[in-house]
Chain length 358, copies 2
Amino acid sequence: MNLYSVIMAGGSGVRFWPQSRRHRPKQLLNIVGEKTMIRATVDRIAPVTPFDRMMVVTGTHHAENILKQIPEIPESSIVAEPVSRNTAPCVALAAYKLDKNDPDAVMVVLPADHLITKEDEFRSVLEAATKLAFDTEDLLAFGIVPDRAETGYGYIHVGAKITEFNGLKAHRVERFVEKPDIKTAQSYLKLGNYLWNSGMFIWKASSIIKAIERYLPVVAKAMEKLYPALNTPDEAKALKLVYEELPDISIDYGVMERADNVLVIPIDVGWNDVGSWTSLQDVWNTDEEGNAVKGKILSLNAKGCVVSSPQKLTALVGVEDIIVVDTPDAILVCRKDRAQDIKQLQQLLKDHGYQGLL
Amino acid sequence: MNLYSVIMAGGSGVRFWPQSRRHRPKQLLNIVGEKTMIRATVDRIAPVTPFDRMMVVTGTHHAENILKQIPEIPESSIVAEPVSRNTAPCVALAAYKLDKNDPDAVMVVLPADHLITKEDEFRSVLEAATKLAFDTEDLLAFGIVPDRAETGYGYIHVGAKITEFNGLKAHRVERFVEKPDIKTAQSYLKLGNYLWNSGMFIWKASSIIKAIERYLPVVAKAMEKLYPALNTPDEAKALKLVYEELPDISIDYGVMERADNVLVIPIDVGWNDVGSWTSLQDVWNTDEEGNAVKGKILSLNAKGCVVSSPQKLTALVGVEDIIVVDTPDAILVCRKDRAQDIKQLQQLLKDHGYQGLL
C-alpha cells in the first residue's frame, strides 16, 4: 500500500491580480509566507509522500516554473495539461497514470494553493485515511470544521451514519451544497453538521477510476484511449490529441455529488483556501483596526483593509474595507465586497491594450 | 507708474503628500499641467511685469529650487524668509523693499500655486487695476465670481457701493467671511453678492505700508528696523535677526478685514486655488464616471475618484470618492471627504520613523 500525492496546480489565480499574472499564477506566489504556495504544499506533504511519490498536474506554460520550485521531483512527475479542463479530467489522468504503475496506489488529491497551519495534525489524519481508503472502495473527502459563517466556501452536509476505522471517524455524506448566503451560513454553523468542502480527497486510484467509468463515461473513454501512452515518452503528444475534447467539469460535480460511496472526514487543521485578497484577512496578522498588511502601512482611521505593498509605504486615510495591492507596474484599489470582480479586470485589460499586464 | 509682481511661494504643500515633500512643496510640482505651478504663475504674469519687476518670497530651503525654475529672474529678487510667518510679514517685507527702490511702485500680490485659465482676461483686469491702485490709496482685492457652492474657500461679502474707474468696477467690501458650510455656501451663490477670496491683491507699496503701520504696528516697527539693510548685501543677515519675532498672521486677517479703504474687483478668470487633491476634480479632465486622473486607470464601477499615478496603471474596482496617489516611495489612499486629514500624516510619519518621506 503506497500513498501518492497528486497536487493540482492548474489555477490561473486571476483573483490575485495584479500580483498574479498569466505566467505567475497564485501557486507560484508567496502570498502567505516566505515560500511559494506550491512549495509550501509540497513541503507539507513530503514527510508522508516522498518526492518520487508526488505528481503535480499543471498547465503547459507553468510546468517549467513549477519544476524550478520543486527541483527534487522527477521531471516526469510534472504532468502538463495542454488545456485547462477543471478538476475531473485532471484527477482522472492522475488516477489512470498511478493505477497503470501501481494497482494498489492510494492517492491524495491536494490543491497547490491552499493553507494548512496545523501540519502535524493534517499528516496524522492523512495516514489514517490512507488505510481506510486502501481497505475500502470509498471515496473520501476532507471536510473542514467551520469556525465562522463563511459564504465563500462550498459545504458538505454530513449524514448521521459514522464509519469508525482505526480511530478515524468518517461520515456518510448527505449532500454537497453550493456557497451559501450569510443567513444560511450562520444556520450551518449553528447546526454543526456542515463542513467546508476543502477540495482535498483521498481514495484508491482504482476506486476513483470505477466511479469515473460510471459517472463520467466520456472522460473514462478518453483515458482508455490515452492508456497505452501513459507514463511513456508519447504521453505529452497523446494528451494534446485527446485533452481538447474533454469536458470542463469538476470532480465534485462530476463524481462526488453523484456517487453513493462517498465519506467525509471532518478535520480541523487551520485550513484556508486563500481564494481571494479578502481571504488574507484571516491569514495575515491584522492591526487593532483590522487591517491585514503585507509591507508597511500608516493608518489614519483606516479599518478592515487588506494591503499588499512590499516595496513602499502605503498611507491609508479614512478608508474602510478596501483592498490595496501595489506591484512594480500596476496598482489595484478595490472594495473588499467587490473582490470577486477582480476576475473581470482580465477582459478589461485586454480591451484596453494592457496585454503586458495580464 | 510701475507694476511689480510679488509672488508668495512660502507654502509647504503638505496637503499634497505624498507628491509634495518638505523639499518639494506644491509650487514646485506640476500638478496641473506640464509646468510647475510657480513657473506657470511667472509665465502668466511676465507679459505684465517683466522678470526685473518680479519678486518671489519663499523659505530659505526652497530658494535654490525656485531659482532653478525661474533662471531669468535676478537672484536678488528671490527673497528667502528665514522662518515662515504667514502672509502679513511676507507682504510687508515686499512692500518696504519695493517702496525703498521706487516710491511709486504698485504691487500685485499673487500666490505661487493657484490656477488661472483665462490668462488674457486676468492680465487686462490687472492693467486696469494697476491704474486704480496708483491713483488712489485703496487696497484692492480680487474676488472670484463663484460658479458653485464651494465650502473650501473664504468669501468676500460685496457692498452696494461701486467705484467705476476706466471701465473697471470695484466694490466696497462689506466684510470678509470664513469658509462656510454647504447651506451657507448655497445661499451665497443664490444671493450673488459674495465672491471667493482669491488671496490676490493689488495696491501701491506706500498704501499697504500705511495700513500696516496702522493695523500691524509690530510688523511695521520690525520693518523699520530692517529698512537700512533692505536691498543691500546685509539683508539676509538682518532678516535672520528680525524674522523670528514677527507675528504669524495673514494679510487678510491683519489688514484687509480691518481697513476701511478696501475694494474688491470681481473677476471671472477660471481661477482655482488647487488647495488639495480633491480640488483636482475641478481642474483635471474627468471620465464619464467623474474620475479625475493623471496617468492611466482602469475603472470597474469606480466613481468620483481622484487618481495621480503617472508611472503605473491603477485599476479601481467598485470604489467611490477615493483619492489614490502613487509615487516612487509612497502611496496614499484617502477618502475624498477626509482630504483635510492628509496634513496629519506629517506627524504620523515623524512618529513612525519615516522622516525620509516627509
